[in-house]
């Protein structure tokens, strides 16, 4: 609840050129990407789309960089009251909630496919059309033989959970611990501890991503597990892929926080940026645990 003391300091930023450039950048990015995908699928030249995409990416990234720098500057200039900081905290929490729902859609798809679609395709409950189309299809998960292997050649081996995936789990769980230790360092005013453990967290994130690249390479070359390998490959790559994209973003956020920590930013009671990145990191970690359980352990 707001109270008089904090309310007084409310800061409404002046007019800003940032959002319109951010909109333009975002638009060019998606327009370029759309054009690129369309030309790619049509087998045509993708140069134009790619150039627009790159241009948009540069505009967007530059704008966001200036934007965030400005917020940090304003915060250092003590323009923000506690109440305003609470706005950022709420904002970040709700953003993470929206991300949870995004993953929920893909997890939901996986559960629906496994619980209903695959058995129905194999004729359970006499569901008509699918029995007629592929009368010999036999249910299995991971789905290595697809109903129509000419269109979707299935993988010949499923991805196990032992090995790289397990290592990745250990890496991410450890990194959640290290980022917490870094936070303790910050609270104790121990900058060296903050920087060391935060640096370690970033390193763990990067190693995780490296392992994932290896894993994908292994999947494509050794297992025949591809995006095109039917619903098993589809759900495998989309879930782990979007998770990997989020790890990339999270690692980048932590890296920025590391640089800021080295530059002397953050105090125990003034570290929203750091905390936001840390929450995001924990969120990414929890999603991974879900993946490890449902995609790897129960999926192979």
């Amino acid at each position: 609840m707001a109270n008089d003391a904090t309310y007084q300091n409310y800061y409404v930023p002046a007019d800003s050129k940032l959002p319109i450039f951010a909109s333009l950048g975002l638009f060019l990015t998606v327009f370029g990407m759309g054009n690129m995908f369309n030309e790619m699928t049509a087998g045509a030249d993708t140069t134009f789309g790619t150039m627009v995409l790159l241009l948009g990416g540069v505009v967007l990234a530059t704008t966001l960089f200036v934007w965030f720098s400005k917020v940090i500057e304003e915060s250092h200039a003590k323009l923000y009251s506690d109440q305003m900081n609470r706005s950022y905290v709420w904002g970040m929490s709700w953003f993470i909630f929206s991300e949870v729902m995004f993953f929920a859609a893909f997890f939901g798809a996986l559960f629906y496919v496994r619980a209903f679609v695959v058995p129905w395709l194999a004729g359970e409950g006499n569901r008509g059309p699918s029995d007629m189309l592929w009368p010999n299809y036999v249910a299995e998960w991971p789905m290595l033989n697809t109903p129509d292997p000419t269109l979707f050649p299935g993988a010949h081996t499923a991805m196990g959970w032992w090995g790289l995936p397990l290592i990745n789990t250990i890496l991410l769980v450890t990194s959640s611990v290290t980022v917490t230790i870094a936070h303790h360092g910050l609270n104790e005013g121990n900058r060296k501890k903050l920087i060391t453990w935060l640096g370690l967290t970033v390193a763990l994130g990067i190693v995780f991503l490296g392992c994932q690249v290896l894993e994908y390479y292994h999947a494509y070359t050794d297992l025949g597990l591809t995006l095109n390998a039917g619903i098993y490959g589809t759900t495998f790559f989309m879930l782990t892929g979007f998770h990997g994209a989020h790890v990339t973003l999270g690692t980048f956020m932590l890296l920025v926080m590391l640089i800021r920590a080295i530059k002397g930013h953050f105090k125990a009671d003034d570290c929203f940026g750091f905390e936001a990145a840390a929450w995001y990191w924990h969120f990414v970690d929890v999603v991974w645990l879900g993946l490890f359980l449902f995609v790897y352990i129960l999926g192979s």
Binding site: M1, A2, D4, Q8, Y10, Y11, V12, P13, A14, D15, S16, K17, L18, P19, I20, S23, L24, L26, F27, V30, F31, G34, F37, N38, T41, K78, L79, Q83, R86, S87, W90, G91, W94, S98, E99, F102, A105, G108, A109, Y112, V113, F116, V117, V118, W120, L121, G125, R127, S130, T146, P147, F152, T226, L227, N228, G230, I231, T234, F237, M238
Partner: protein, 534 residues
């Protein structure tokens, strides 16, 4: 200009808006941004309306007269998409921007720059979406619900731009909703508890929560389409072990909450207007809050009622049928409360009140047809007929759209400082009221008689009602130009409005002068909490 209290080289809150066109591009002011949203929404309303009139012109007579079936499909698709995402949703966001800070005594929205960003994404998104009509292969032609595989395997290439346009709208909505939630949770005037907030604020809090929960799911489903189209995945292709019905599940998990996103703020508006013109306090404030919350909760678990005919297992059919019927309970509570508020009130019938009462009556008709549709075995007959079209147009046009118009008439004097022309306002109301009913009531009958939706031609026995429907549509459509005239006239001239504007009005927004100053409630002591809710 800014309301910085501590930074002295900037001006304080008495400062007015910047000059020139760039004011609108760079602004961080919630009132400016609200105005932008509202005008944008009105432009989209006219564009989507034009598409609707193309549809109704073709359906005026049986047979193919004006447009090719392929183009007809693009019209139904774009009409739905533009009205849902371009007209109704941005209008409510515009109202939220204008009103929420004033109703809770906040100086502005919590994240003003992001507020500007949320708005300015939309013109880009809709330009991209509308431009698909000019692309090779035509625009999206698979209906606003874009069922796979129509929207994947058999879609025109422009579907890719459609997908990215949806992504942009989603980003805009999520940022806008986060702003609303944070503003309400964090910026209420000192002493204002949640249960003192006006219902419009309550309904928007819950709407924003729904948006944050389901827009990412929409983003998920279009991403699955994108991957199926361009990268060889098989989410919606049974040959690879996927399922087209999976599309419908994910889509409607978004889609049903989405229809409540388009009606909950309307409930809030009507709950503000009826007490004012009945000169009584709202009957059952707390029950309104609980009813809204239960509707929001239920909206997550009833999506299957759109899929009764896809071949769900019997248990699923029964579950979705009963769960859907449950929604009628909190909805009934609301209708009861509005009527109880009017009961023995000393009512007057200015334009906002006329729209609000029409809302209560006609929305209820839409709710009752919804109840008919929720009966699974009956829906086997109704599904994909004009009966469904009649149902959702009754809840959306005299429902959502009437509430938006009521809101504009109600708060316009506060925004512009002038009274609108009451006689013209009433004329607009009656033309719209007659137009809507003439358009959509006959669609119940042709639907029950079996006329399918989304078809450019039809059997002869449906001819009379279709002709009536088309006449009504043109009447309704052209009446909206009168609305435009009234609004412009009110901005330019009109009787000077007082601060309270309406004799029976309660709420913080009526304690500030009309037109509302560029910055309101920059300090908390300006707030008189006794006036908080209506």
């Amino acid at each position: 200009m800014s309301a910085i209290i501590e930074e002295h080289h900037h001006d304080d809150h008495h400062h007015g808006p910047a000059k020139g066109l760039m004011r609108w591009v760079f602004t961080t002011n919630h009132k400016d941004i609200g105005t932008l949203y509202l005008w944008f929404s009105f432009m989209m309303f006219l564009l989507g309306g034009t598409f609707a009139l193309v549809i109704r012109a073709e359906l005026f007579q049986p047979g193919l007269q004006l447009v090719a079936p392929e183009f007809f499909n693009q019209m139904t698709t774009m009409h739905g998409l533009i009205m849902v995402f371009g007209a109704v949703m941005p209008a409510f966001v515009g109202l939220a921007n204008w009103l929420i800070p004033m109703m809770i005594g906040a100086p502005d929205m919590a994240l003003p720059r992001m507020n500007n960003y949320s708005f300015w994404i939309l013109p880009f998104a809709f330009t991209m979406l509308a431009s698909t009509l000019l692309m090779e292969g035509g625009g999206p032609n698979f209906g606003w619900t874009f069922y796979a595989p129509l929207s994947t395997t058999y879609a025109p290439p422009s579907v890719t731009y459609f997908i990215f346009a949806v992504h942009l709208m989603g980003i805009s909505s999520i940022m806008g909703s986060i702003n609303v939630v944070v503003t309400i949770l964090n910026l209420r005037a000192p002493g204002m508890t949640l249960m003192q907030m006006p219902l419009f604020v309550w309904t928007w809090l819950i709407t924003a929560y729904l948006l944050i929960a389901v827009m990412p799911v929409l983003a998920g489903v279009v991403t699955m389409m994108l991957m199926d189209i361009h990268f060889g995945t098989s989410f919606f292709n049974a040959a690879g072990g996927g399922d087209p019905v999976l599309f419908q599940h994910v889509f409607w998990f978004f889609g049903h909450p989405e229809v409540y996103i388009m009606i909950l703020p309307a409930f809030g508006i009507v709950s503000a207007i009826i007490p004012t013109f009945a000169r009584k306090r709202l009957f059952g404030y707390a029950s309104m809050v609980y009813a809204t919350s239960s509707i929001a909760f239920l909206s997550f678990i009833v999506w299957g009622h759109h899929m009764f005919t896809v071949g769900m297992p019997l248990a699923g059919e029964l579950y979705f049928m009963y769960a859907t019927m449950l929604i009628a309970v909190p909805t009934g509570v609301k209708v009861f409360n509005w009527i109880a508020t009017m009961w023995q009130g000393s009512m007057t019938f200015e334009t906002p009140m006329l729209f609000a009462i029409a809302f209560v009556v006609l929305f209820t008709i839409g709710g009752l047809s919804g109840l008919m549709l929720s009966i699974a075995p009956a829906d086997f007959q109704y599904q994909d007929t004009y009966f469904v079209v009649a149902h959702f147009h009754y809840v959306l046009v005299p429902g959502s759209i009437f509430s938006i118009m009521a809101a504009v008439y109600y708060w316009l004097p506060k925004w512009t400082g002038h009274m609108y022309d009451e006689k013209l306002g009433k004329t607009h109301f009656w033309l719209s009221f007659i137009g809507v009913n003439v358009t959509f009531f006959p669609q119940h009958f042709i639907g029950l008689a079996g006329m399918p939706r989304r078809i450019p031609d039809y059997a002869l026995q449906f001819a009379d009602y279709n002709m009536i429907s088309s006449v009504g549509a043109f009447l309704f459509g052209f009446s909206q130009l009168l609305f435009l005239v009234i609004v412009i006239k009110c901005i330019k001239t009109g009787k000077q409005a007082t601060a309270q504007v309406w004799e029976g009005a309660h709420g913080l927004e009526w304690t500030v002068p009309s037109p509302a100053p560029y910055h309101t409630f920059s300090t908390p002591d300006e707030v008189n909490l006794k006036e908080a809710h209506g």
